[in-house]
Every structure is written in structure tokens, then in C-alpha cells.
């Protein structure tokens, strides 16, 4: 430690070295961006590929990358090491305790905010203007919060890395879509059915992979997810193929009021309100909010039950777990099944909200997004997963709103296409910066004398 401290420059940043770094990085960046950005392939009128010269743009981008590297070397890294030296020993138990208290207050405040959010939005921008904010931001983010919390049971608690979670989401969505269209059953009957079916699939997929751990498990679950999607595409008689299933019935207000415009008991008609789809969106918002809270509540209670303790024990050490007489087969299967069940609930909600499902909605990227949310939030931390969902989904949704940038970059500029690119970059940057996720403290449910908050480094979440 002391030798390392000595070797660091004491008298301010080393600009010469930083400049060298910056120039080297700019050259490397130009070597890579030059072809990829600077020489864009395009089709001409005769359908032949031609090269469009944009080397100037590539040079500008490389210069920006180099300048970024220069700033990092000159200012950010020295600052980080200086800060790291100061605070390294300062993280005490008390510090962790206050952080946990802060997280608790934050969650209560956040919950209150979530319940008044639609009212707030409607009073701010009116009924019609609220649709975008309630639907695109509220409902969209809450779906991912719920999926994140559901997957958190499998990854965060039981420590099983599942890269095919979207398969259960798909099972839920297709169960609702097919049963509602073919048997005219209501959403409220089909919600539990979809959950049960998804849990059943969780068992089917969980059973063969019992012996696998870590990366192998991840890849097998990925393959299962892809198989389900490919079957949905190719088995046209069952699922409608890649065209999907449309005109899926809407959710009703427990059968009392409908949100169908033509129905006699249409909500807006009965209450003599101006016709608008905003009421349905607000209703969906509260529905998914309650479903997500149900997921959170069940998870928190399960952690205090023997099965929840067994999950966490399994995560920490499978061999020790088995030698203490815990049935690891049942423990793993219940984790898969319960996680899958919440995925199924979310899926049937998704189908009812969209009114349309197709295999396009259940690509691997969706699984990756959900896993990213769970890991970036801090596996096992409910509040962290929720924060990550808000940051990643809300952040990328915000890009859709940045049309004013067209004034700066010209009309061809479409911020929407950078959505997934920035999402991926954020994944990498957050992982490198904070491998333990946003919330890096954990609250053990089992303790010897006194409840202590521990650092995320002490638990084996994500060890395979």
C-alpha cells in the first residue's frame, strides 16, 4: 500500500502523460471509427453498395474520444485516487447503517410519490396530456420494476443466473392472449392462470438445469428463451407466427366497467366524462403498481420463511447447504417457479396493455435488459432494482423526448436510434464503476445478536 502511494505523483496531475494517453487513444479511435463511421456503405440508385465519405465526422469523434481520455488521465483519475486514499478506511458499520436508513426513508417517500404520480400529472398537464407521461414513463418503468423484482428472486436471492427470463414473460403474455381470445375469459380469471402456467414452465425449464451453475446455467437458460421464441415464430397454427396476435381484450374494472369505447358500461360514459384513453392508462398504472408491490411484498415475506432462507443459503454455498440437509432440488425449483410466476403476471399485463403480442417483444435483448436492471441495481436489493429500472428505462425513454436536438444536429438526427447504444454503454460504465450496483449494502434476514447491515461484497450474489 505504502509503495503504491509513493509511486503516485504528489504534485498535481501529470499533463505530459495525460496528453500522450489522449493522443494514443485518439489514434486508436480513429483507426476503428475511421472505417466504421467515416466510410458509410450505402446503396445507390442501381442497388449497388457505394461508400459515402464521412471521414471528417470520424475525425471529430476520435478527437472527442481522445480529449475525453486526456481529461480522465489529467483530472478524474488523480481525483479518484486522492479521494480513495482519504475514504478507504472511513466506511464503517455506522456509515453503512445510515446508508440503509436513508434507503428506507427513500423507499417510503418513493412509494407515496408513486401513488400520487398520475394525479399529479393530470393536474399538471390535463387529462389528455397525461397519457404520454403515465403510459410511456409510469407503466413502462413499472413493468420493468416488476420484472426486475421477479428476476431478483432467482438471481439475487437464489443466486441462479437466468438469461432466459423473457420466456416466462412470453408464456404469460401468450397465455392471456390465447385464452382471452379463444375462451373469452376475463383478465382477472386469466391473471392467476397465466402465473400458474409460467410457474409450470419455470419448473419444466428448471428441472433439467438443476446440476448446472454459473455461466453454464446462464447459457442454457438463454438457449431455452430462444427456443421458446423460435417456436412461437414457427408454430404458426398455435401462435400466429411472427405476425403475432392482435385485438387482445382490454382489462375491465373487475367486470363492473369496461374501457372499450363501444361497450355500454364504458367507464367514461357511465361517469359522463369526456371520452379519452387516459382513464384506461391511469387504471393500468395502478394495476401494474399493485402487481409490482405484490411482487415486492411476497419477496420480502418469503425471505423470512424457511424457503427464503434456504435460497440465500444456496446462494452462499451449495455444498454446505446440502450437507445441512436442505433439499437443493426443491429450493432451486421453487426459486425458478416463483420467479417465473411473477414474470407470467407481468406478461399477461403486458399483453392486455398492448392489445397485441408477437415474438418480436420477447427477444434476448429483453432478458438482457432485465438482468442488467437487476445487476446494476445491486442484486438482492429491492430499492436498488427499482432505481436501476427508473434510471435505465426512464433514461432511455427520455431520449424519445429530445426532439429539440433536431434543431442542433439537423433534421436527420433521430435521438431514438441511440437508445439501445446508450443503454449498452451505461451497462458497461456502471459495471466498471460500481460492480456491486447502485445499492451496495444488504440487510441479512438471519443474524446472531443484532441486525447489522453488511456490504454487498460480503454476500455471494452473482458468484455463480
Amino acid at each position: 500500500m505504502s509503495t503504491q502511494a509513493k509511486s503516485l505523483p504528489q504534485g498535481g496531475p501529470d499533463f505530459g502523460q495525460a496528453l500522450k494517453d489522449g493522443v494514443i487513444v485518439a489514434i486508436i479511435a480513429f483507426a476503428l471509427l475511421g472505417p466504421l463511421v467515416g466510410l458509410r456503405t450505402d446503396q445507390n440508385m442501381a442497388n449497388e453498395l457505394i461508400i459515402q465519405n464521412r471521414l471528417g465526422l470520424a475525425a471529430i469523434l476520435s478527437a472527442i474520444v481522445g480529449a475525453g481520455r486526456f481529461l480522465l488521465s489529467a483530472f478524474v483519475y488523480p481525483w479518484l485516487t486522492a479521494r480513495g486514499r482519504k475514504t478507504k478506511a472511513a466506511v464503517t458499520l455506522a456509515e453503512l447503517e445510515t446508508r440503509a436508513t436513508r434507503a428506507r426513508h427513500l423507499s417510503i417517500g418513493g412509494l407515496a410519490f408513486l401513488f400520487v404520480y398520475p394525479v399529479l400529472i393530470i393536474s399538471l398537464v390535463g387529462v389528455q396530456g397525461s397519457i404520454k407521461w403515465v403510459d410511456n414513463f409510469g407503466v413502462q418503468i413499472l413493468i420493468y420494476v416488476m420484472l426486475g423484482w421477479g428476476l431478483n428472486i432467482v438471481i439475487g436471492l437464489a443466486g441462479l443466473l437466468d438469461l432466459g427470463y423473457v420466456a416466462f414473460y412470453a408464456v404469460g403474455a401468450y397465455s392471456y392472449a390465447l385464452l382471452a381470445i379463444n375462451f373469452h375469459l376475463s383478465f382477472w380469471v386469466l391473471l392467476p392462470v397465466a402465473g400458474i402456467l409460467a410457474a409450470f414452465w419455470g419448473l419444466i425449464l428448471g428441472f433439467p438445469v438443476l446440476r448446472l451453475r454459473g455461466d453454464y446455467l446462464a447459457i442454457v437458460t438463454l438457449a431455452f428463451g430462444e427456443i421458446i421464441r423460435l417456436v412461437l415464430i414457427n408454430w404458426k397454427a398455435f401462435s400466429g407466427g411472427s405476425a403475432g396476435i392482435s385485438s387482445i381484450p382490454k382489462v375491465t374494472l373487475f367486470g363492473l366497467y369496461s374501457f372499450d369505447v363501444s361497450a355500454p358500461n364504458n367507464f367514461a360514459k357511465v361517469f359522463h366524462l369526456a371520452a379519452s384513453s387516459a382513464y384506461y392508462k391511469v387504471f393500468l398504472y395502478y394495476l401494474i403498481l399493485l402487481l409490482a408491490l405484490l411482487t415486492a411484498f411476497v419477496t420480502m415475506r418469503l425471505r423470512r420463511l424457511p424457503i427464503g432462507r434456504a435460497w440465500e443459503a444456496l446462494r452462499e454455498d451449495e455444498v454446505a447447504c446440502r450437507s445441512l440437509g436442505i433439499n437443493t432440488t426443491n429450493t432451486k425449483l421453487t426459486a425458478f417457479a416463483i420467479g417465473a410466476m411473477f414474470g407470467g403476471f407481468a406478461g399477461s399485463f403486458f399483453a392486455a396493455r398492448q392489445g397485441f403480442v408477437s415474438p418480436e417483444s420477447f427477444i434476448f435483448m429483453e432478458s438482457a435488459v432485465i438482468v442488467a436492471i437487476v445487476v446494476l441495481g445491486g442484486m438482492g436489493s429491492m430499492i436498488g432494482v427499482a432505481l436501476a429500472a427508473v434510471a435505465m428505462i426512464g433514461g432511455t425513454e427520455l431520449l424519445r423526448e429530445l426532439s429539440f436536438l433536431k434543431a442542433v444536429f439537423g433534421n436527420d438526427f433521430n435521438p431514438d436510434q441511440y437508445r439501445m447504444l446508450l443503454f449498452g454503454l451505461a451497462m458497461v460504465i456502471i459495471m466498471v464503476w460500481k460492480p456491486r450496483g447502485f445499492v451496495s449494502v444488504r440487510q441479512p434476514t438471519a443474524f446472531l445478536f443484532r441486525r447489522k447491515t453488511v456490504s454487498g461484497d460480503l454476500v455471494k450474489e452473482g458468484h455463480g
Binding site: 456503405t41 448446472l212 435483448m365 438482468v371 449498452g424 451497462m427 459495471m431 466498471v432 458468484h463
Partner: protein, 316 residues
């Protein structure tokens, strides 16, 4: 109604499909080596490897157009060789940069961290190419149309092998030989095998572990770049989303052959290629990819050590 599967042309169709299968399988094998080497040395599934393959095909595409249209190189052979070398160099550089940025800081972190980072990188690469090069298919005119007929069946059904297929076979064989020499006979290969066995011990004995790991990534990338160039030449088209499926199939090949085993990766690649084409011919073309993914699942469940791999022993 074709009678090919029935028996009349059975032999010819079968041989033709085997030739096609070996061709695709060679490409999978080349990609699979990248997976298996990285997994062997740091125990990480380099999820972005499939997208690295796709980017290398784009490098090849761009420089092929550049050489033929801007510099007017008429000789196809010369253009192909140049393109392949450029693509190998640039892809190696790209992967070296990726390793420095996204994987090296996470060494020694918990196991999921590099995997998540690699998934992020895979999203970055495919979306970057989509933004920079556009979302459309990029077709090129065929590099060569030369086809040789090996023999004709009794009713005139020919068994063909195209010049492209021969190029793929020859290039793959030459590269594998060169690669085998590097791993078995050179100092780099020795350092790499040492790191694979025991990283700490290797570093105590003076092996620069970080550099060896970087070079492992770069070698894997260079082989993927060869596969990318050959892929572009063979199919004549590439698109930004082309990384995922070949990536997963090559990973399947690595697992089937026994992850960590280099001959296993090539063997696995050839088997996956054969199974895929034969499945497409005799069972169902729609479910071709389902077959590949099912093999992955079945192998991992029943034979996790693969065909040529060593069984993994869990130490307590």
C-alpha cells in the same frame, strides 16, 4: 414435390449437404476458438464475441468496397487477402480496446460482473454498427461464381463444390495450423497455457499475465475476423444483427467440443455445421436454429465437459 430425401438422389444430396455443412462448420469453429480460449484462461463467457465477428465482417465489407472502387484493385485474390489482413488487424485492435475498457478493470470482481459487462458490450457493438452503417442488409456482388462438379449422380443430379467453399476450407486449415503452431511452440503459447493452468503461479514465474490475457483476446478476435471475412464472401451479405445467432452457435460448438479445448472447438464447430445443414435438409428448415439451441441444452445438461474437455471438479 422433390424426391431427394426419398432415396433416388439420396447419396448425392447427402454428400452435397455434408460439403455445405463442413463449410459453415469451419466458420463456427473459427469463432468458437475465441470463446474457448477466453473461457479457458479467465473463465468468462465473452458474450460480445459474436458481435465482434459481425463487426469484422463490416470491416471486410468496407475495405473490399474501398479497395475495389477507390483504389481499383482488379485482382480478387489480392483484394481478398488484403481485406482479410486489414480486418484481422482492426478487429484485434478493437477487441484489445474492449478488453482494456470493459473487462480488465473487472478482473478479480465477482463472476457475473464481466459477463454483464460483455452483454453490455455486445449491445453497444451491434447498435453502434446499426447507427454508423445503417440498419439495412449490405449485399456485395459475388466475389467468384466458379463451381466445380465433383460427380454426377445416375440421373444427372450433380454434387457441386464452389470455389468459395474451397477457399473457406483451405484458409481455415492453414489458419488452424498456424494457430496450432503459435499455441504449442511459441513463447506466447507457452505463457498462455501456463496462465490457463494457474494464473498466480504463472505470474510468480515471470509471465506477464495481463498481457497474455489481452493477447488471448486479440488472437481469438483475429480468428473471428477471418471467419467474418469468409462469411461475407460466402453469403455475400451482412447486416448489423448478424452477430447474435452465429455467436450462440459458435458458443454451442465450443461447449460441444469441451470448453477450454482447442481441437474440441473445431470439432464442435464442424459437428454443429453438419447437424444444422442435415437437419435443415431432412427434418425441417424452419426449426434449424431450434435444433442448434437444443443441442446446446442437451450437451450442457448431460455432458457438461463436452466431447474433448476435462470434467470440472468442484473443490470445497
Amino acid at each position: 414435390m422433390r424426391v431427394t430425401a426419398g432415396g433416388l438422389y439420396f447419396m448425392e444430396v447427402f454428400v452435397q449437404q455434408v460439403i455445405n455443412g463442413i463449410t459453415i462448420g469451419s466458420l463456427y469453429g473459427l469463432i468458437a476458438i475465441g470463446y474457448t480460449m477466453v473461457f479457458g484462461i479467465i473463465g468468462m463467457v465473452n458474450f460480445a464475441h459474436g458481435d465482434v465477428f459481425m463487426v469484422s465482417a463490416f470491416f471486410a465489407l468496407i475495405f473490399l468496397l474501398l479497395l475495389t472502387s477507390w483504389f481499383g484493385i482488379a485482382s480478387v485474390t489480392l483484394a481478398l487477402i488484403l481485406v482479410m489482413v486489414i480486418s484481422m488487424v482492426l478487429t484485434g485492435l478493437l477487441v484489445w480496446a474492449i478488453e482494456r475498457i470493459a473487462y480488465a478493470p473487472l478482473r478479480g470482481s465477482f463472476r457475473l460482473a464481466p459477463l454483464i459487462s460483455a452483454i453490455g458490450m455486445s449491445i453497444v457493438l451491434s447498435n453502434f454498427v446499426q447507427v454508423a452503417q445503417g440498419p439495412r442488409n449490405k449485399p456485395i456482388p459475388p466475389v467468384t461464381r466458379e463451381v466445380y462438379t465433383l460427380w454426377q449422380g445416375p440421373t444427372g443430379y450433380p454434387v457441386n463444390i464452389s470455389l468459395k467453399q474451397i477457399i473457406i476450407w483451405v484458409v481455415t486449415a492453414l489458419l488452424l495450423a498456424a494457430f496450432w503452431y503459435v499455441v504449442q511452440k511459441t513463447a506466447l503459447g507457452r505463457a498462455q497455457r501456463a496462465c490457463e493452468q494457474d494464473r498466480k503461479m504463472a505470474s510468480l514465474l515471470g509471465v506477464n499475465v495481463d498481457r497474455t490475457i489481452s493477447l488471448t483476446f486479440v488472437i481469438g478476435a483475429a480468428l473471428a475476423a477471418v471467419a467474418g471475412t469468409l462469411f461475407l464472401m460466402y453469403y455475400g451479405v451482412v447486416v448489423f444483427s448478424d452477430g447474435f445467432t452465429p455467436g450462440v452457435k459458435a458458443f454451442t460448438a465450443a461447449v460441444l467440443g469441451g470448453i477450454g479445448s482447442l481441437p474440441g472447438a473445431v470439432l464442435g464447430g464442424l459437428l454443429i455445421g453438419l447437424i444444422e445443414t442435415l437437419w435443415g435438409q431432412y427434418v425441417s428448415a424452419d426449426y434449424q436454429n431450434v435444433a442448434a439451441f437444443s443441442i446446446l441444452v442437451i450437451v450442457l445438461i448431460f455432458m457438461p465437459q463436452g466431447l474433448l474437455g476435462r470434467p470440472e471438479v468442484e473443490k470445497v
